[in-house]
């Protein structure tokens, strides 16, 4: 009876709507950064108020940049909406790809510090400089989490502010200044205890560490993410927001037309922008997403602290911006130690093993796209390959030299090209081998950031099962237990088991079922 009533109701609802949202002609198609997902309720109201549907399709920052400057974005979208256009606009020719841009809201990248740490450092009463923050990091009185600058705008913004401050520069950074700041940056990043490819996941991971009794000092993130985290009420006490006196980089979320969009799309854009900038809409944006308003009629409320902020000049040359990222990856960050646990069982034959090889070859330098260049194995990185079928194969470890990486990358490519699929799936036995290697590496080189990637296209069919792995994992010493597993869903992956492995170890799953290489690149932000 109930089912029938529901069916009738659904039919009635379906009958009411003139068309499904997918073919609503009054749609502005927008390629967007995933952090804009929290704006959906506002966009739903925009649709109700104006009839214009703003449909966001999410992608990563670098992928977005690449799609715009290659001209590919214009084929499927009318507009783009990311946290900032600054890096994008450094690419030659982009001015021909984008049209009018309108800022919708803003959020500076600042620090959220746990109260006891802020108090002991005096940052709760006096705003520090980046140099003072770097000093505390060097002394390990301040440890922190920050996103990877090559994967996430908040990490990149922090890197720009910090490098500008440490170099003493009062104008846009130059390459010699980037190189000159490397020794200090290396000391600063030695205190980084948590990394992530996205600002939202970083906040979640930080919260887990605090609640799990293994807290770190703070995190660098958008003011909006930090205020949202405080508003959740899940931390024992709210974070102190710390605004460095010598500069921040502020995300300004410009909704930006793409060249070649239709006249109708431009009309929808104008409608959307006019709506989003109304004072009565700017206020709920501020109250619900904790981003600052951009129209003078709406004043920020008391939660937005900091007093006067100093906006750091953003680099004007692509070479400088890329040198910042390159230097972070190859010189100043804690070197990564990356263990790949990869399924070569019989079910991987054909397209699947080809996709896996191509993803790994991409990371070994074959992918020359923008995102590919930044996600290749970095200088000083240690890469361990643990392939498995009926049992784990002998692990192979490579260390990529900082100065001449090519010969080692070539060795990795030779190994990958030899892979053949066949046999059963001893998934957890292979994961145990990976953790044994991780334990050894964590002991021998605690300065490294050690992570495990797990790819399997199906259920485990031989060796240990999940319960046995869980017991093994719980017996590991705490520093080894801190090594996260990032399972990649692929083929007929056991989704719930993979999710459990991720949550048990503090990792997260990635979906490689539609594009494995993309998932492998995305994981690079977490390694």
């Amino acid at each position: 009876m109930k089912a029938l009533a529901l069916a009738v109701l659904l039919l009635a609802v379906a009958g009411c709507s003139p068309s499904s949202p997918e073919d609503d002609p009054n749609t502005l198609r927008v390629l967007a950064g995933s952090e804009l997902a929290d704006l959906q309720p506002i966009l739903d109201e925009l649709k109700r108020a104006t009839g214009v549907r703003v449909k966001l399709t999410y992608t990563g920052t670098l992928d977005g940049v690449e799609q715009v400057y290659s001209g590919q974005a214009a084929a499927s979208y009318d507009a783009i909406w990311f946290s900032s256009n600054r890096y994008l606009q450094l690419h030659g020719g982009v001015d021909q790809r984008i049209g009018i841009q309108t800022k919708v809201m803003s959020s500076p990248v600042v620090l959220g510090v746990r109260q006891p740490v802020a108090k002991s450092l005096g940052w709760d009463t006096k705003r520090p400089t980046w140099t003072e923050i770097a000093d505390a990091a060097r002394a390990r009185t301040f440890t922190y989490g920050m996103t990877n600058p090559s994967a996430s705008n908040s990490g990149f913004s922090a890197l720009v502010s910090l490098t500008s401050a440490l170099s003493g520069s009062g104008s846009a950074l130059t390459e010699p200044e980037v190189t000159g700041a490397a020794p200090q940056l290396r000391e600063f990043f030695a205190a980084q205890a948590l990394t992530a490819g996205s600002s939202g996941w970083l906040a979640d991971a930080f919260e887990r560490r605090v609640r799990g009794g293994d807290p770190i000092g703070g995190l660098i993130n958008y003011e909006s993410v930090l205020l949202s985290l405080n508003a959740r009420g899940t931390l024992p006490e709210p974070l102190v927001l710390v605004y460095p006196t010598d500069g921040v980089v502020t995300a300004d979320y410009p909704l930006t037309m793409l060249t070649g969009a239709s006249a109708e799309a431009r009309g929808r854009y104008d409608t959307a922008v006019e709506y989003l900038r109304r004072p009565e809409v700017q206020r709920p944006i501020m109250e619900r997403t904790y981003r600052r308003p951009v129209v003078p009629q709406v004043a920020t409320d008391g939660r937005f602290g900091g007093g006067t902020l100093v906006e750091v000049p953003f680099p004007v040359h692509l070479d400088v911006a890329n040198a910042l990222i390159q230097s972070f990856n190859d010189v100043t960050r804690r070197p990564p130690s990356t263990i790949y646990v990869l399924d070569l069982s019989g079910s991987m034959r054909g397209e699947r093993i080809d996709a896996l090889k191509s993803a790994m070859l991409g990371l070994s330098g074959a992918d020359s796209s923008l995102s590919g260049r930044f996600s290749r194995f970095h200088g000083r990185e240690q890469v361990t390959l643990v392939t498995f079928s009926s049992q784990p194969a002998n692990p192979l470890t490579f260390v990529v030299p900082g100065d001449a990486p090519q010969p080692v990358l070539d060795e990795i490519r030779d190994v990958v090209n030899e892979w053949r699929a066949g046999g059963d799936t001893a998934l957890y036995d292979a994961l145990v081998v990976a953790y044994e290697i991780a334990a050894e590496q964590v002991r021998a080189a605690p300065e490294r950031v050690t992570t495990i990637v797990l790819l399997s296209d199906g259920e485990r069919t031989s060796g240990r099962d999940l319960a046995q792995f869980r017991d093994f994992y719980r017996g590991l010493p705490p520093p080894t237990r801190a090594v996260p597993v990032f399972p990649v869903l692929f083929g007929e992956s056991a989704e719930s088991e993979m999710a459990e492995v991720a949550s048990l170890t503090g990792g997260r799953t990635f979906d490689g079922r539609s594009a494995l290489a993309t998932a492998f690149k995305e994981i690079r932000g977490y390694q």
């Binding site: 003493g168 009062g170 104008s171 104008d270 003078p296 006067t308 906006e311």
Partner: protein
Amino acid sequence: MAVRRVFSVVLAAVLVVGVIVAIVVGRERGSGQSLETVRGVVGSEKAPFFADPDVVAAFAAHGLRVTVDPAGSRQISEIDLAGYDFAFPSSFPLAERVQRKQGVTTAYAPFYSPMAIASFAPVMQLLSRASIAERMPDGHWVVDVEAYLAAARKNLRWDQIPGNTAYPARRNVLVTTTHPRDSNSAAMYASVVSYVANGNAIVRDIGGVPKVLDEVSALFLGQGYLENSTEGPFESYLANGLSYSPLVWVYEAQFLGRQFRRDGSIRDGMVLAYPSPTVLSKHTLVPLGDDGDRVGRLLTQDPELLRLAARHGFRTADANALANFAAGAGVDPPPPLVDVVDPPSYQVLETMLDAISRRYQQ
């Protein structure tokens, strides 16, 4: 690029026409009078003026319905002007270029606006201690461009000015402008600073550009990332104040127009300073036919239109109009301008701006 420009002009036209038609249709019903449509392409900063219902009514009283397509002033000199009755860029060099291209000798300069610096009283006090700014007896602030250039040459940072509590930033003392590639206001900035860098003389020919190029370029590139339209930085100044920038290059009309609106966006402590020398953005209308000529004449002579121009913050031949609105809004009257220089010729300015823009690609 050209395609995008024309395209966006047309789109904007559709929108503006829609608004105007709605207004005019409403009025025509009352008067029963038919209006002649005149089409113009205008610098985007003047679009709000033409969209003002009182301006529409003032033209209608003379039997005209004026529809405008907003465009970047630097674009107006490049796009195809067929089908337009007038072009109305925001500077004299750009109008000159249109005149040459169209073989027109007449031009109307109904209103103008000096370039100015939106800032804050404590920042100006700070700069006066560094002998870069000075407060005039009538209360308004003047920035000495020569002293400013000398400071920029030495990479003077805000935190190096003694006794600085207002804005102790580790950031060079630089005025925030738009990108030289796109906007007229940035071209006006280049005009002022190149004059001073050239030993207080207008750069007369292309051969004189290299002599000032390094110094002028540094004033743009040192700022870091720049926005494209003059409206962007001014809005950020209004919304974020000192946290955006202590010094923002604007048209005087932008600031005054906001003050006259009394919408609370100009807050306590916000001041408009005048560079010395400054340059005038002479909004110059080039008629492309008799109808365009009528618009030019009306804008120059019709008392109601002159009054409305003043309400939007523009200076006109009637010096009292702006002062009256200032008095009505309870703000200080805009000062008389004493130290005004001419911008270089179109060709020299374009050469300079192109050369600066190229340095962003190196």
